[in-house]
Amino acid sequence: MPTKAYLLEFYELMLKIRMFEERVTREFRKGDMPGFVHTYIGAEAVAAGICMQLDDHDYISSTHRGHGHCIAKGCSFRDMLAELYGKETGLCKGRGGSMHIADFDRGMLGANAIVGGGIALAAGGALAAQTRKSDRVAVSFFGDGACNQGILHETMNLASIWKLPLIFVCENNGWAESTPTEYSTSVSNIAERAHGYGFAGLTVDASDAEAVYEAANSAVQCARNGDGPTLIEAKIGRMVGHYLGDPEGYRPKELKVKARSKDPIPDLASKLIDSNALTEMGISNIKDRINTELDEAVSYAKDSPLPSGADVDIGVYSE
C-alpha cells in the first residue's frame, strides 16, 4: 500500500497533467499552436503511477499522446510548451512539436507519431541497461491501437527470451481514432496476450490510481530484480476526442459521457480528503500553484523566438 504522502504526490502529478492538457486545449483553440495535438486527459493515473516508480536514469518511450508521460517523467511546462509552439527554446528546439516531443536528459526517448513506433526503442533502453549490468529499467507506453502492430509481438518475444528489464504499458482507452477496440482486437483483455510470451499480463482500471500503483510497483520491481518483462493493460475511459478538434461524429455521445463519469482525479481527491490527507483548501492551493506555473510557461513559450528558416537543414547528423 502506498503511503499518504505518496498518494498526495500522485494526486498532484495527475492534476498537473490534467491542468496542462486543459490549458493546451484552450491555447490550441486560439489557433497559434502549429501541428496536431492529442491530449492525455483521462489517462493521468497511468503515466503518474508508472513514472513515480522510475528515476531520470530509467527510460521510457511514448506515443502520439505523450504530454502526460513527459510531465510524469519530470519535463518542465516551459520547455514543453515552447516545443508545442515550435519555438527554438523548446525541448526539441521546435523541430518536433507535440507528436515528437522528447527529453533525453530524463530518459524520455520521445513521443512517437508512428503507432507502435516506440515499443522497440524502449526495449533498446532495456537492452542497454542489461548489457551494462545497471539496474535501470525501461517502460514502453502504447495505446490499444498499437497492440495489433507486429512490432509489439516481436518485442514481447525478445523481451521474454532475454529477460529484459522492460515494462509494456498498454493504455487501452477503447478506441483507436474512430475504431473501437472491441472491433479491432481479438481479445477483450489485451493483457491476456502476454501469456503467449511467457510473462505476466495485468489488467488494471486506470480510474483507480491505487490499482495502477500496485501494478506498476510489482512490474518495476520485477524488471529491476532481473526477472524480466510485464505487460500492464490500463483500461481508460476516452474522455475527449482523438485529437484537439476531433468532431467525433463516429462516436455516440453517451459513450463519452460514460467515460467522463469515472475520473481518477476527483476520485483520489475524495479518498485523500476522507483520510484527512488533503483539504478542499489544499486542493485549491495546489491548483493555484499549477496555474501560476502554467501562466508563466505559456508566456515564456509565446515570447520565445521561433527558429530561423535558414537553419532548416542543420542538425540532421551528429558530429
Binding site: 502549429p34 501541428g35 496536431f36 515550435g86 519555438k87 527554438e88 521546435g94 523541430r95 518536433g96 512539436g97 507528436m99 515528437h100 512517437n112 507519431a113 508512428i114 503507432v115 507502435g116 513506433g117 491501437g145 498499437a146 495489433n148 502492430q149 507486429g150 483507436a176 481514432e177 474512430s178 475504431t179 473501437p180 472491441e182 472491433y183 479491432s184 482486437t185 461524429g249 463516429y250 462516436r251 455516440p252 521561433l306 527558429p307 530561423s308 528558416g309 535558414a310 537553419d311 532548416v312 537543414d313 542538425g315 540532421v316
Partner: protein, 341 residues
Amino acid sequence: MSQQEQRIISGASAINEAIRECMEQDPTTILIGEDIAGGAGLGGQHEGAMGGSFGVTKGLLEQFGPLRVRDTPISEAAIAGIGVGASAAGLRPIIDMMWSSFTPLAFDQIFNQAAKMRYMFGGQAKIPLVLRMAMGAGLGAAGQHSDTLYSVFTHIPGLKVVVPSSPNDAKGLLAASIKDNNPVLFFEHMGLYGMKDEVPEGSYTYPLGEARLVQEGSDITIVAISMMVTKALEAATVLAEDGIKAEIIDPRTLSPIDYDSMVASIKKTGRLLIVDESPPRCSIAADIAANLSEMAFGYLQAPTSRITCPHSPVPLSPPLESAYIPSVEQIVSTARGLCCA
C-alpha cells in the same frame, strides 16, 4: 462547354467519386484500411462514419456495405499483405495507407511481394492493387507524417507510381490506377483534398505514363510534381511579367514516366528546371535531371536545375517548414537565373 462539365468540386470529392464509380462498375473492387469507414466497428452503416482520417471515403460504407468497405486494426504490414494476396486471388483491392509515412511498415509486402510476384512467378500473378495515401508537408504534421516517399517507390521495378496535382487529374488517374492490373502507389498530397477544380461527372480515365502539358511557353521548361504544379503556375505568372515564358509539365505518373514530352519541351526551350517536394538524393528530381540531361544533351543551354527540399526530415516549426518546402520565390529566382545564364 456544358453545365455538367463545369462542375467544380474538391479533390477529396473527386477521389471519392473515382472510387465509388469503380466500385459500382466492378463488384471485385473493395476498400480496406484504418478508419476508412470509421466507427463502422460499432455495428453496420451509421451516419456518423468518418470515411477515413481525411473524410475522403465518406459514404462508401453505406453504399457498398461492410464486406466491401472494411475498417482494419492498425496493422499496416498485414493490411498491405492481405491486399496483395486478395489481388493475387482475383480481387481489386484499394488499400488506404492513410499517410505515405506509414508505408515503411508495409514495405516488405510492397517491395518483396507485390512488386516482384509477377516477374518472379513467370507471369502467373496479376496484382491489381492500389495503395492510396496522403502525403506532404505544410500542415505542421512534422517529422513522421509529412514525407513524400514516391521516389523510393519509383526505384522499385514492378510498381507504378501516380502523383496527381489537381482534382480533375486525381479522378481520372485514380480510376486508371484501379483498373490497372499492377500494384499502383497513389499519392494524394494533403493540399489536394481541399483544392477546387472542374471535374467531369461520370467515369473517365487518364492513361498512366502520359505527362500533362500544364502551360505552354518557350523560354524554360519547368517540370513540377504534385503540389509543386500550383507553385510553378504562380511562379510562371511572375516570370511572365519579366517576359519569361515558362512551359510547365506535370509528369502525373512517375513510374512509368513520360520523358518524351519533357525532351520535346526542352528542345523548344533549351532550359530545364525541376521542382519537387522531396529530399534531393536518389530522388525523382535527380532521375528526371539525369535522363533529360542525357536525352536532350546538346539542346540544353544551361545546366539543369532542381529545386527540392533539403536533405533533412520535415520540421514542425512554421518558419522551418516553410523553408523546407520549395517556394514560388525559389522557382522564380532560379528560373530567372537560368534564363539569364
